[in-house]
Amino acid sequence: MLEADFRLTAGAFDLSVQLQLDRGVLVLFGPSGAGKSLTVSALAGLVTPTEGRIVIGGDPLFDASQTIDVPTRKRRVGYVPQHHSLFPFRDVAENVAFGLPKERRHREDPLVVALLEELELTHLADSAPASLSGGERQRVAFARALAVEPRLLLLDEPFASIDRAGRQRVRSVLARILADRAIPAVLVTHDPAEALELGTQLALFERGRTVASGTPRDLLGAAELVVEGVVKSRAVDGSVATVTLEGATVTGAASLLEDDDAGVVRIRVPVSTTADR
């Protein structure tokens, strides 16, 4: 179980977060720069909030009022970043074994062998990270995070550097390994499909705040808002598009845009996606 309620300041950016997860996967959803990755960093202990609490399984990892701040290395959180997730100077099996205690830190350790098998990586055990595809790399990163038996998995856009074809496979592998274990996970994503497939809970982020929380289906899937208008400007960042229409700005998955030839754009967005007037 994860409970977090904290604030922190990074430069000119203020983050104020309330999160709650009893079991399963909590999706942090929202546009770029909304504070999702910074939230993951705070949960991991890589940045320190100015006030508030972070509790996992009843143990406080951070509590400003009691000056508790458990260092990252003692938090037992599995962290999978978007890029540079593998140690380039170690092969696949050595990467998986990396966090094990010294006496067990070898490629023949039963846990390493089992994780390679489970994540369909056995044939790549001797490969260098540079020779792997994006999807294979992230599967190795999942295996390495699971090897240390974490209390919480932190997945910061783990599919973002994977091509479309590989993404679905890694997504189903992740869904399977999370379903097989009782480890809660926090997943950062821009992609509504990812949120719907993997999430049990969802927290919607906007400009450094959690503005709504609920199930992904309630927040992303149930209703649809159709915005139509003449385009003033548009910007696409990864899979997310921000479109300014006459009098409205809409941010949502780029795949939801429909253009017609008269310069009018139609955007089918889940109601939860930002629509500022």
Partner: protein
């Protein structure tokens, strides 16, 4: 040991001991400058560079002022421990260490900066202490830059002349390193003797330059 081989052996010893002394603080400093943001960072950066920029005679003068027999620290060392550094091989080691430090820091620092910070974050999440993180993640990911820095530092220590002359003197059979011996032999017209040490130092320097350029991280690859 005869008077011909002595300067070669002494120079090698001085450079090796200097490297052993200066490497740990230089690597720590390179890591701090690469990874920490603190108020005096720019000032420390400038201070580290100083021995590289100042004329060696100025560095030697400072060393005499601080550690000389009547120096600020030198007097204390002498009265408390009977330790006189000036005109000893130890003085040559101190002078060489000081001038090698900036070269090591300035070569290693960008190599550490080039290590993706995510790797260190992952390492921390896997339970690594700060020292383990440095040894198991940062060093393996930046070893080429680290070795290049150490090789350059060794070469700089080996070639140190001005500060050594001021602080350690040129005492035959005691502090006459190769660079000092070249100067001394040239002054008395013994070009054959000077040429021997010139050849030794040139061969080592060429080897160092080749090694450093092959080791230095190539953009985009490691």
């Amino acid at each position: 040991m005869d008077s011909t081989t002595f300067p070669i052996v002494l120079s090698m010893q001085v450079a090796a001991i200097s490297l052993a002394i200066v490497a740990p603080p230089a690597l720590a400093l390179a890591w701090i400058q690469a990874r920490r943001r603190y108020r005096l960072r720019t000032a420390v950066d400038a201070l580290v560079l100083l021995p590289l920029v100042l004329p060696p005679s100025v560095v030697g003068f400072f060393l005499v002022v601080v550690l000389g027999r009547r120096g600020i620290l030198g007097e204390v060392l002498d009265s408390a421990f009977g330790l006189r550094l000036v005109f000893t091989p130890a003085a040559a080691v101190i002078a060489s260490s000081l001038v090698a430090l900036p070269l090591i820091v300035k070569t290693v620092q960008p190599a550490i900066e080039a290590v993706p910070v995510e790797l260190e974050h992952v390492g921390r999440s896997l339970g690594l202490s700060p020292l383990q993180l440095f040894l198991r993640v940062t060093v393996p990911a930046s070893w080429r830059g680290i070795v290049a820095g150490l090789v350059l530092g060794f070469a700089r220590a080996l070639g140190e002349f001005g500060a050594t002359l001021m602080f350690a003197g040129n005492i035959p059979g005691r502090t006459n390193t190769m660079p000092l011996e070249i100067f001394a032999a040239y002054q008395v017209g013994d070009d054959r003797r000077a040429l021997l040490y010139v050849a030794v130092l040139t061969v080592i320097s060429v080897a160092v330059v080749v090694a450093a350029s092959r080791l230095n991280p190539q953009p985009g690859g490691r």
